[in-house]
């Protein structure tokens, strides 16, 4: 899948020669997963702010690709949502002793979650909401950087044959949004050319159906082309199906571990589950790799790629160690009463390690 068509219009003029070596998609994947895991592992605003700055730095270093521009709108929307979520969360559920301000309030019966709209605004809830927004915003810039720099086709190829359809679905899903926005833009232009005066938000309803139509049409056309070129051909039975089931099981176990981490903190069992799940997925990948498909050239793991992947793993390990050790307030909670979070250099080092891709692109920049 590519978004070449949409991107073309934006960047038609001047075709720069391709930069020599692009980072391995696996390195980016490791960076994204490592970054997200590290962010999930902490609720300390100091580390989160650092992670956000690091993510923004990486995003800015790769944003200037045609694809980066196509995804730019989504990063912006994500950030706006993150910011809006702060007052929303504060207004719908403020509790705690440190009252900052008092708003007119509207209460719901206590047995219905007992939440209150407005009322006392507390430092505790403000801190919690800010932390959550910081987390979301960080994930948004991470995802933005990832999507701007990744070759989605190569990413798709990383999946074993048995999971290739799944990966294809994800890829179509990722790419469909910027495509749809580009299509909506050209439909809006067509409507203006026909003299339809609607602009901005009022034009939106009239755009939805044509946009959906355009997205469907394009995806189906591409599917047709893939079909005609042998995608999904042969009979990938046996090992493929096995790899598929193992991969799905691995994903399931790892998901349980990740969510268990997220919802009730780090424990041995969830951590083991994540590791086990990753191993199972790895088995599926290895088993699947032997089935049917071949690669023109395996994406090369250059030292830079290894550097990025190791840095990402290290970031997770450091954050996990910090959290289990209890030093440096990795699992900071604003309740029962808001206090300044503690700080430990290891947490900062963990987040700074995630700057690796930006350094890598800087290194390439100076070399060429």
């Amino acid at each position: 899948m590519t978004i070449a068509g949409e991107v073309r219009s934006a960047s038609q003029i001047g075709a720069p020669p391709e930069a020599g070596h692009r980072l391995h998609p696996g390195a980016w994947l490791a960076w994204l997963s490592g970054g997200c895991a590290a962010v999930f592992l902490t609720s300390n605003p100091l580390y989160l702010s650092l992670a956000f700055l690091v993510g923004t730095g990486v995003y800015l270093s790769v944003r200037e690709s045609p694809k980066g521009r196509a995804f730019g709108a989504f990063v912006l929307i994500g950030l706006v949502f993150a910011v809006i979520s702060i007052p929303f969360n504060v207004l719908t559920g403020s509790s705690g002793p440190s009252v900052i301000a008092t708003m007119p309030e509207l209460s719901f019966p206590s047995w219905f979650g007992g939440f209150t709209l407005g009322g006392d605004i507390t430092g505790e809830s403000l801190m919690t909401a800010t932390n959550r927004a910081l987390g979301i915003a960080t994930l948004v810039v991470f995802a933005g950087a990832f999507n701007a720099s990744i070759d989605h086709f190569r990413l798709m190829r990383l999946a074993p044959r048995a999971l290739s359809q799944l990966m294809l679905t994800l890829t179509v899903a990722i790419v469909v949004l910027p495509q749809a926005v580009a299509h909506a833009r050209s439909v809006a232009e067509a409507q203006r050319l026909r003299g339809k005066p609607a602009r901005g938000l009022r034009a939106l309803p009239g755009l939805l159906l044509p946009t959906l139509h355009g997205a469907l049409e394009r995806s189906v056309q591409r599917a047709e082309s893939m079909d005609a070129r042998g995608f999904g051909g042969g009979d990938g039975a046996g090992g493929g199906a096995f790899a598929g089931v193992v991969g799905v099981l691995g994903l399931g176990v790892a998901t349980w571990g990740a969510f268990a981490h997220y919802w009730y903190g780090a424990g041995l069992l969830p951590t083991l589950a994540i590791a086990g799940g990753v191993v199972l997925v790895g088995i599926a990948l290895l088993r699947g790799a032997g089935v049917e498909t071949t690669r023109l050239r395996a994406d090369r793991w250059a030292p830079l790629d290894a550097f990025i992947a190791i840095a990402a793993v290290l970031a997770v390990v450091l954050m996990l160690a910090l959290r289990m050790n209890g030093a440096g307030d990795a699992g900071y909670l604003a309740y029962p009463e808001v206090v300044a979070p503690a700080f430990h250099p290891v947490g900062a080092i963990a987040m700074l390690l995630l700057l690796a891709p930006a350094l890598a692109s800087g290194a390439r920049g100076t070399r060429s």
Binding site: G78, F81, S85, P109, S110, W111, F112, R132, I136, A162, Q165, L166, L168, T169, L170, V172, A173, V176, L177, L209, L212, H213, A215, L216, S219, V220, R222, A223, E224, M226, D227, F231, G232, D235, G236, A237, G244, V245, V248, L249, L251, G252, V253, T255, W256, G257, A258, F259, A260, Y262, W263, Y264, P270
Partner: protein, 277 residues
């Protein structure tokens, strides 16, 4: 006129096995969902208090089970359809569209999500309907920050919306086809019912743990009739007011925008159906 839809001779032997597999998987997913929703009712004693805390322990497990089974269903469905890139493309676009529609909220909490999901399920059948429903709700949870112990329960309910819409399409679709207005009204009624039902079902995840109000809460060992009566009162008191808006929104959207969306999706479904003569 012998007709064979979506199956070519070469694809048949494997397709037959898969044709059994995917309904089984769908049944398994639904089974997990039912167990997750209903097992607290069979407990002799319930630890009342904050349901968020009690159920948060199970949520990751339920979620992992749902995810694994839904993915297997997806893989089985693809095999059944002959591993087709077109189904993949269609599913991805429809899911993303449904997810995107959950973000902008219409007045009073109604969204285009249910409307689109119901029409998509109606057109594409129960299995794809389930996948679109739970998939789209999951994707949109990232955007609306909807992660919490309630998420797996919402995923099941959204899957069921799509699934039942698929059943409606299978059962009533052929009879209603070409009768534009009636078809739309039937779907609108269906969407309206789900507007209330979705809230009623998703509230069940915490209801057994609610402690306040004797006449509206669950007591272990309660009979079915009494439980329904208590739950009804609870629902009317707590959620009906909100859900009415969703219902109105669903009905209005189906009546206003149902026809073009239905036609559009139907076109894509029909484009893929083959008949040999």
């Amino acid at each position: 006129m012998a007709s064979a839809v979506m199956a070519t001779p070469a694809a048949r032997p494997r397709a037959r096995g898969a044709a059994l597999l995917s309904p089984l998987l769908l049944a398994a997913v639904c089974g997990v969902g039912l167990v997750a929703y209903l097992y607290p009712f069979f407990l002799a004693d319930i630890d009342r208090g904050s349901p968020g805390v009690v159920r948060a322990g199970e949520a990751p497990l339920i979620f992992a089970a749902l995810l694994s089974l839904a993915l297997l269903l997806f893989l089985a469905e693809l095999t059944r359809q002959g591993m087709n890139a077109k189904i993949v493309a269609l599913l991805a676009v429809v899911t993303v569209a449904a997810a995107a529609l959950r973000i902008p909220t219409l007045p009073a909490g109604a969204t285009g999500f249910f409307f689109f999901l119901i029409v998509a399920g109606y057109v594409f059948g129960p299995r794809l309907g389930f996948l679109v429903g739970s998939g789209a709700l999951f994707v949109s949870a990232f955007a609306v920050g909807g992660f919490g112990p309630w998420l797996p329960f919402q995923l099941f309910a959204a899957g069921w919306v799509g699934m039942t819409a698929g059943w409606l399409g299978v059962l009533a679709g052929p009879r209603l086809r070409g009768r534009g207005r009636t078809e739309l009204v039937v779907i609108a009624v269906f969407a309206g019912v789900w507007g209330m039902l979705f809230g009623a079902i998703t509230n069940l995840w915490f209801w057994p743990y609610v402690a306040q109000g004797d006449s509206i809460s669950w007591q272990p060992g309660m009979g079915l009739g009494e439980a329904i009566q208590h739950y009804w009162s609870f629902y009317i008191l707590t959620s009906a007011g909100w859900d009415v808006w969703r219902t109105i929104g669903n009905v209005a959207l189906v009546l206003l925008a149902g026809r073009p969306v239905l036609d559009l999706l139907t076109r894509y479904r029909d484009r893929f159906q083959i008949r040999f003569e």
